[in-house]
């Protein structure tokens, strides 16, 4: 076999490849981890709204309604031949990434995406706000806080916590962290952590926030030790968090749709994962007053919701 013959074969193949062209179907397959989950549902609705306005066809698969979701997904991909697969939630992403066959994949609502194995041709909108954004806002609203603490699990949040620590350090805030493996460890972990910190930060860690009991333990311990709680979602305001800066689910859906439009114009570099662009900031004035925290009054008009003591 001469190398010349090999080159001839390669040239022939190349001609074939180029002549085959690059067809780009404009159908999008939405794979939803579980559309009974409110957040997933919200994201899907906003995404569809914008994507359909821009004349895309949409096919949907809800993993929760199929016993053999893997087969369904495979069949749907073959049937619909989507140009892009949009996944909502980690479960949907992990399943879909094996069947993309060189289609583009855009994920959203996956907790701490950095823990996932991100394949080629994959794009994403993160679930968490950029840690630098969270830290900046926290410092703006509560300027006197210098030491914050958080609990997390290595399995789900290690990378996110590392970026929090780094970003906090750059603005002079010290972050004390404690990793736990299961929700049973929360009580002891809090007892060790709370005395060392000025504010406790709840991040979206599925091990720390396993159930209502865990949430209750966090707020009871924080209250006993008179430590304010800062949370990633406004659902914790009612439980007693003083401030919540949450990623806005509607915006995640819209942002994902914009992302798709830009991808089709080749304006997004491969592998881009964006932080959520929209935040909702909620202040619990009742807790703020009770704890006599130093709150920046100029920041009041940046707050989306102010919750008072009246019930």
């Amino acid at each position: 076999m001469k190398i010349r013959n090999f080159c001839k074969v390669l040239i022939l193949l190349t001609v074939f490849w180029i002549s085959a062209g690059f067809a780009q179907p404009s159908k999008i397959l939405i794979v939803n981890s579980d559309n009974s989950v409110y957040r997933y549902q919200t994201i899907a609705t906003e995404f569809k709204k914008i994507i359909q306005q821009n004349a895309y066809q949409v096919a949907e698969l809800n993993l929760n309604s199929h016993a053999d979701a893997e087969t369904e997904l495979k069949q749907l991909i073959q049937q619909e031949n989507p140009g892009l697969i949009y996944t909502i939630g980690t479960k949907a992403y992990l399943l879909a990434r094996d069947y993309t066959h060189n289609r583009k994949l855009l994920f959203s609502a996956a907790i701490n995406w950095r823990r996932l194995d991100i394949a080629e041709g994959t794009y994403g909108v993160a679930n968490e706000l950029a840690s630098a954004q969270e830290i900046s806002l926290l410092r703006y609203f509560l300027p006197s806080i210098k030491t914050i603490g958080l609990l997390y699990s290595d399995k789900f949040s290690r990378e996110y916590v590392e970026s929090i620590k780094k970003d906090a350090l750059s603005v002079g805030i010290n972050v004390v962290t404690k990793a736990i493996n299961e929700d049973k460890e929360i009580g002891d972990a809090l007892n060790g952590l709370l005395p060392k910190i000025e504010l406790f930060w709840i991040i979206s860690d599925p091990v720390v926030l396993s159930n209502k009991e865990s949430v209750k333990t966090i707020f009871q311990s924080a209250q006993q030790q008179k430590k304010p709680v800062y949370a990633y979602s406004d659902v914790y305001i009612e439980q007693g968090a003083v401030l919540a800066v949450s990623a806005d689910s509607d915006t995640i859906g819209r942002q994902s749709a914009s992302f798709v439009l830009m991808m089709d114009k080749d304006k997004v570099s491969e592998g881009t994962v964006q932080s959520p662009a929209g935040s909702t900031i909620t202040l619990n004035k009742c807790v703020l007053d009770a704890l006599r925290l130093n709150f920046n009054k100029d920041a009041l008009d940046s707050i989306n919701k102010v919750v008072g003591c009246e019930k």
């Binding site: 915006t251 819209r254 830009m262 662009a277 909702t280 008009d301």
Partner: protein
């Protein structure tokens, strides 16, 4: 059958409640619609205003987050006060709805603000915004109109190639540029000043690609020349900054006082 009956029951409760409330002998109302403001928890807003207004003349506050619903409320009623943006007011006037400005909101002594189109410094010209995402808070229609004004006639054609990303707040829009989720942002000048405090590094990275004409922060308008009843309500509004609770409510709307137009 049980299910049908229960649905009918719930429906009837809703309709009755709606009808009763609509015709209750309460009010007058202050109606509010402004997507440019940061507040989106209308329950808190309503609660804050109602507590204040009931003590100052038994008025009620009604915020809307759907434009069409707000506009229907204006068309159907007279004698109330409407809080809205000047941009929206002009649009309504073009639809022959005879709204008149009674008061304009102030912030730190100013009644007007400009909207700024800002981007990172590597975007040197608006033409570079073709096929990019521009973030802004408000309705898509509003952002489009501000953008159109900033781009001017020469660059108006760019609009169709710009994707608008609607975010909840001005500060989200500017931070979206800083964190790479959008190429440019439409925001109020004051929001840019706020970014300088929140994240000075990001603020340093941004520059302005253009500004809109100055416009009022927020407007209190009436459908006709205010009569005595409406004047009383406007007076209550005007005096809100004098009380702490009143000022806090206004801050939630992004202003700190009112001024009558000369």
């Amino acid at each position: 059958m049980k299910r049908i009956l229960s649905v009918l029951f719930i429906f009837s409760v809703f309709v009755t409640g709606a009808y009763r409330s609509a015709y209750a002998d309460e009010g007058p109302f202050i109606y509010f619609y402004n997507p440019e403001t940061n507040i989106n928890n209308f329950a808190s807003l309503k609660r804050g205003f109602d507590v204040y207004l009931v003590d100052h003349g038994g008025y009620l506050f009604q915020p809307f987050d759907i434009k069409e619903t707000f506009e229907s409320a204006i068309q159907g009623k007279k004698g109330d006060v409407y809080l809205l943006s000047n941009w929206h007011l002009k649009a309504l006037q073009q639809k022959n709805i005879p709204l008149k400005i009674a008061l304009v909101g102030t912030s730190k002594g100013n009644t007007m603000q400009r909207k700024v189109l800002s981007a990172k410094k590597d975007i040197t010209d608006v033409s570079m915004l073709k096929n990019t995402v521009v973030a802004g808070a408000g309705s898509e229609e509003y952002i489009q109109s501000v953008l159109k004004q900033i781009l001017g006639k020469d660059q108006e054609a760019l609009l169709k190639d710009i994707k608008i990303l609607i975010v909840p707040k001005d500060i989200d829009a500017i931070m979206a540029v800083g964190f790479g989720m959008a190429t440019a942002a439409i925001s109020a000048e004051s929001s840019l000043e706020k970014l300088a405090m929140i994240n000075p590094n990001q603020h340093r990275e941004l520059h302005s690609l253009g500004v809109s004409e100055k416009d009022y922060f927020l407007i209190a308008a009436t459908l006709k020349k205010p009569d005595q009843k409406e004047e009383q309500l406007l007076e209550v509004l005007r005096k809100m900054p004098d009380a702490d609770a009143g000022e806090e409510n206004l801050r939630m709307l992004g202003i700190d006082g009112w001024r009558a137009l000369q």
